[in-house]
């Protein structure tokens, strides 16, 4: 090391205040997209979805059995909801606790606030998981529309996918929040998985309209066939957005108050 070679102080450099947030967000998206968990989940969902669509298309074209695109897409979205929830839990519950080794000594000791870091991680996982399902679902729906009996409305498909994305946003937010508050990824995964599936069972037993996954599946098919009243959609989305924000805020405040 040669102290003489150290760069001369250039006094106060301009600071881009939101750069730490974007750095965390971008880094997390890049890291997650490369992870085997993400690739395995998306690959499996895309392959199963495409396989089911092609199977039904073959039955329709070869055997002449009429296949409802709305029913098929409803099944696919239900499959995404049930199996994808577990995948989303695995993907989100290690978002912060998985980085515990680096957190204090390489990240939070720098010029990034806890809120910025948390928001970057949260946004990255919510955007990635929701966008992946939106993209994958839209692609499968497009193929289904081309190959099957045409009984769906494009706006109905959009509404159903938006709905699914909002459910995933809430699940991912719960995962990131628990991850921010716990020391161990394994613990986070167990807690979030039990919470998500336990709540699913509870909502089913209580027959809560907005959150019951079985009802949601019926609603997906109906929405795709008939579209959806704006008020109903807005109420449903507001319910999930409210839950997402509340869980996210609790996670952010808890994370800002804990020792790293």
């Amino acid at each position: 090391m040669n102290p003489v070679d150290l760069p001369a102080s250039t006094s106060t450099a301009r600071i881009e205040r939101f750069m730490p947030f974007w750095t965390v967000l971008r880094g997390d998206i890049r890291q997650t997209v490369r992870s085997w968990m993400y690739l395995l989940g998306m690959g499996t969902y895309a392959a199963l979805g495409l396989g089911l669509v092609l199977h039904r298309a073959a039955m329709y074209r070869q055997a002449g059995l009429s296949q409802s695109a709305a029913a098929l897409l409803g099944e696919l979205l239900f499959m995404a909801l049930v199996s994808g929830a577990t995948w989303a839990v695995f993907l989100s519950a290690g978002a912060i606790s998985g980085e515990r080794q680096l957190l204090a000594d390489a990240i939070l000791c720098r010029g990034v606030s806890r809120y910025q870091y948390y928001a970057g991680k949260w946004m990255a996982r919510v955007v990635l998981v929701s966008a992946s399902f939106l993209f994958c679902g839209a692609a499968i729906a497009g193929i289904g529309l081309c190959l099957l009996h045409y009984d769906v409305r494009a706006d109905g498909v959009g509404v159903a996918l938006l709905w699914l994305a909002s459910v995933f946003a809430a699940v991912v937010t719960l995962g990131v929040s628990v991850s921010a508050l716990s020391e161990s990824t394994l613990f986070s995964v167990v807690v979030v998985w039990l919470a998500v599936h336990g709540l699913g069972v509870l909502f089913t037993m209580l027959q809560l309209e907005e959150c019951n996954p079985i009802r949601l599946c019926d609603r997906f098919s109906r929405a795709m066939r008939e579209g959806m009243a704006f008020e109903e959609l807005a109420r449903s989305l507001a319910c999930y957005a409210g839950a997402t924000l509340l869980i996210g805020l609790v996670g952010a405040i808890g994370f800002a108050r804990r020792d790293i």
């Binding site: 150290l6 730490p20 000594d105 720098r110």
Partner: protein, 332 residues
């Protein structure tokens, strides 16, 4: 640098308890002025790293506060951390990252615009002699090279305050020497807090010292004050002259009441004064005796590493105080 009179770091009654089970720090009051090089001393578990983490806002104080550059440090005080350069005890790096990736990532976390980041990154890699390995994965670099990278990362934001937690740990003698030279160079423009086990490092580069023992601050002041606490009563003199003359001089010195130990080994005279003896007059008597016997004095030094001895004395004294520690806070 801060304006004159302002304080870079201040802690007031800083206390940290973990889950009401462990008291890591208790009632720490510190005040670090600009330009100070503070050595943070203490045994393992004394609370050095906890103190550093509280200063950085990584931990929340149980009671009391930390102010950096006059503002309270919190978990969200990113603006304050932009003025701090930190090296942890065992630096960790993102998996698969190269030195360039890591420095760029660190620069981004400080919010530095691309042009500033890239310029500093290149200059720092050159300064720490990492240009040749700047594209290699960090995991493949030696401990010494990783330590240099940590130095570069801690300087990328051009901080006013540097906090280095045991920066010479695990370094070979050459790298350690370079690190100390770097600290000396940086201390001309910046305020530094160095946590170290190595007391000779602290002795060489620090102007002030804070000594922690089991979460208590038992000394805070200049290094000179710390050394001054140690009674210098043990000396070694290298002599030149005939054996007979040296032995005769030693015998004369043994008869002086100020000395409790007088030993001669291969023209080296070891002297230990009694507790009551004034060292200046006792040594004056020694020099006169040597001159009378025609023995030349080649060199004279105090025995033992002064800072180390003072540190050990402080810890020992703190331990021996027992319950009196409740009433007497900090240095006596």
């Amino acid at each position: 640098m801060e304006a004159a009179g302002s304080c870079v770091l201040e802690t007031y009654r800083l206390t940290k308890m973990y889950q009401n089970r462990q008291i890591a720090l208790n009632d720490i009051n510190l005040r670090v002025e600009p330009g100070c090089v503070l050595g943070l001393l203490g045994a393992n578990g004394a609370g050095k790293t906890t103190l550093i983490r509280l200063i950085l806002g990584l931990h929340r104080p149980t009671t009391g506060w930390v102010k950096v550059f006059g503002r309270r440090m919190t978990a969200n005080a990113a603006g304050l951390r932009r003025r701090i350069g930190y090296i942890p005890t065992q630096p960790r790096f993102p998996r698969g990252a190269t030195p360039i990736d890591f420095l760029d990532f660190t620069g981004r976390l400080f919010g530095l615009p691309r042009e500033v980041r890239q310029t500093r990154l290149g200059a720092l890699l050159r300064a720490v002699n990492l240009l040749e390995v700047s594209g290699e994965p960090i995991a493949s670099l030696s401990t010494g090279l990783q330590a240099r990278l940590s130095v570069a990362a801690s300087l990328i934001n051009e901080p006013d305050l540097l906090i280095w937690d045991e920066p010479t740990q695990g370094l070979d003698p050459e790298a350690r020497r370079s690190m100390l030279e770097l600290v000396k160079a940086l201390s001309r423009h910046k305020t530094l807090i160095l946590s170290s086990h190595n007391l000779s490092d602290v002795d060489e580069v620090c102007t002030h010292a804070a000594v922690l023992s089991r979460g208590h601050l038992i000394f805070f002041g200049s290094l000179q004050d710390l050394k001054g606490r140690m009674k210098r009563n043990h000396f070694e003199l290298d002599l030149e002259g005939e054996h007979k003359a040296i032995s005769k001089a030693a015998q004369t010195i043994r008869n002086l009441p100020e000395f409790k130990v007088v030993q001669v080994r291969h023209r080296r005279l070891e002297l230990q004064l009694t507790e009551q003896a004034a060292n200046a007059s006792a040594l004056a008597n020694v020099f006169m005796t040597l001159a009378d016997n025609k023995v030349n004095l080649v060199s004279i030094r105090t025995v033992g590493q002064q800072t180390e001895q003072a540190f050990l004395d402080l810890v020992e004294r703190d331990e021996s105080r027992g319950f009196a520690r409740v009433y007497v806070n900090g240095e006596d």
